[in-house]
């Protein structure tokens, strides 16, 4: 089973602070990590490899420092990494072409696994875009995967419905956060992974033409949150009384 996992380095959104005057997020200096659901995708790939054998390749489009984070993925159980630098002007369209180009260059694959979305932008575009560019079927929001010789069966979580589907290979699958618990690599695994390769592939080596982005980000705005922030913390009965008076006054208790 040849499995490709697409992983993205993102800012750790839980560590983002907001500037108290502009309400804008402060992104400089926020620690970077591999997006959570991409680790779910890798965990699922490792489980499949443990059962059926094969090879796992992790592909990332990112800055040079993403290599440090990719080492963690190799320690978890990926066999090799491919890092493609982010072009100066890039959007989903450009990145999807880079990833699809790298997958084509890699050649044979049975499955491509992605996270259902990245934790920073949460678009969930990359998986379906890659499937669309490669013209292969896609299974999104996968909760479970059962791999057999010629097919994979998956339960998809669509919120109000669970849809069970079956697909032949090759197929692209996006995994949810609840699908599994990504393993923490042991010290042994970390040491052993130092010999695993991370290849640097240039943009030109995976794309035949220069791609122009379709979308430009013109601003990242803060979200104003104007609340009264009246907090009662003395006597409970008094606090409850005051709260009910206030709620009645503003007209929400009737």
């Amino acid at each position: 089973m040849n499995i490709i996992v697409c992983a993205k380095q993102v800012v750790d959104v839980a560590e983002i602070k907001v500037d108290s005057s502009t309400k804008k997020p402060i992104l400089a200096g926020v620690p970077q990590k591999i997006s959570d659901m991409d680790k779910n995708a890798l965990e699922e790939a490792i489980k499949i490899k443990e059962k059926h054998g094969g090879k796992i390749t992790v592909i990332t489009v990112g800055s040079p420092d993403a290599k440090e984070r990719m080492k963690e993925l190799l320690a978890m159980g990926a066999d090799e990494g491919v890092l493609i630098p982010t072009p100066e002007h890039a959007d989903y369209h450009v990145i999807a072409h880079l990833l699809a180009g790298a997958i084509k260059k890699k050649g044979t694959y049975d499955m491509i696994l992605c996270g259902e979305a990245s934790i920073d932008m949460f678009s969930g575009q990359m998986g379906p875009r890659i499937a669309g560019l490669l013209n292969i079927p896609q299974i999104t929001y996968a909760q479970t995967l059962t791999v057999e010789k010629n097919k994979v069966t998956s339960e998809r979580n669509l919120g109000e419905k669970t849809v069970t589907v079956e697909s032949p290979f090759p197929v692209l699958i996006t995994m949810t956060k609840e699908s599994n618990q990504p393993r923490l690599p042991s010290l042994m695994a970390i040491l052993a992974s130092s010999s695993k390769p991370i290849h640097d592939w240039s943009v030109d080596s995976v794309l035949t033409e220069v791609l122009i982005p379709k979308i430009k980000t013109i601003d990242i705005k803060g979200i104003p949150m104007q609340r009264k922030n009246i907090i009662y913390q003395d006597d409970l009965d008094q606090s409850i009384g005051k709260l009910i008076d206030e709620l009645t006054k503003v007209g929400v208790l009737r």
Partner: protein, 316 residues
Amino acid sequence: MVLVYSDDKKLTLELLNKASELGKELHKKVIAVTIGHEEYATEYIECGADLVIVAETSQHQFKVEEYTSILENIMKEYQSEIALIGSNKNGKELAARLAARLNAGCVMDCTKVYIQDKKLTTERIVYSGNAIAVEQFLSPPQIVTIPSKVFDPLPKNPHHKGEIVKKKFDGEHSPLKILNIQDMKSEGVNVEDAQIIVSCGRGFKKKEDIRLVSELADILKGRTVGCSRPIAADLKWLSEDHWIGLSGHKVKPKLYIACGISGQIQHIAGMRDSGVIVAINKDPEALIFKSADYGIVGDLYEILPKLTNAIKGKIG
């Protein structure tokens, strides 16, 4: 042409409002697409569509590969520059695949869509609810997905004229097989329409204790119980229709009472548009207080029964 598609009829009607507005501003016609549901066509016209394309297909269950190919064909044939697609789970995977097939830009989950400097401009929440990204399309085709309840449908206008065109599609065949469709365990709650919501989070020690929240909700009109991610997704004490947050439901009740919820930004993203927000938490430093109008610091096991009783006394 401005094209509108969702497999959800209500959402399609909401999108038609925005499409009509953009259509007027850009002097473009509005096309609504329905796959298989001819019976929706008249209503789509009354709510703003100039043309309804009824795609006739043998495939009645949503299969993204086939539905994408239908929309790809329509967008090419009618040279649609803009597509507004309903942002539910089916719509999002469809929009992204369609964007790849058309080499188009695509922005997901937009809460604002407008023309600025003659360019289609969108706003959406990013960084886990910490910021709004303002993005602009540089060239067509342009695909935007919009969640439900961002726009209201236009009032029905029986005088609005439109054309209905039926088209057969025998496009791409998906190798995917649907084996089973099962409704998730649901308690039939609709938090998105609730006027008053009482919500619970990790501050509750066991499943049975959630009755403290239901009792308060019962006294208040609305009677709706919500929860944060761990209660629905991890502990599964409540079904996912109660889940409020970035990946759960987005709500805007008149009154939102958060009990034992720490106030992670993902939860705030789901309830920040509420009218009045009340927080109950034992930790005075809890983030939820920053997003609340009123807060009581203390043990919810002590506060909730007292609050329920006091409100009962007040409003009967």
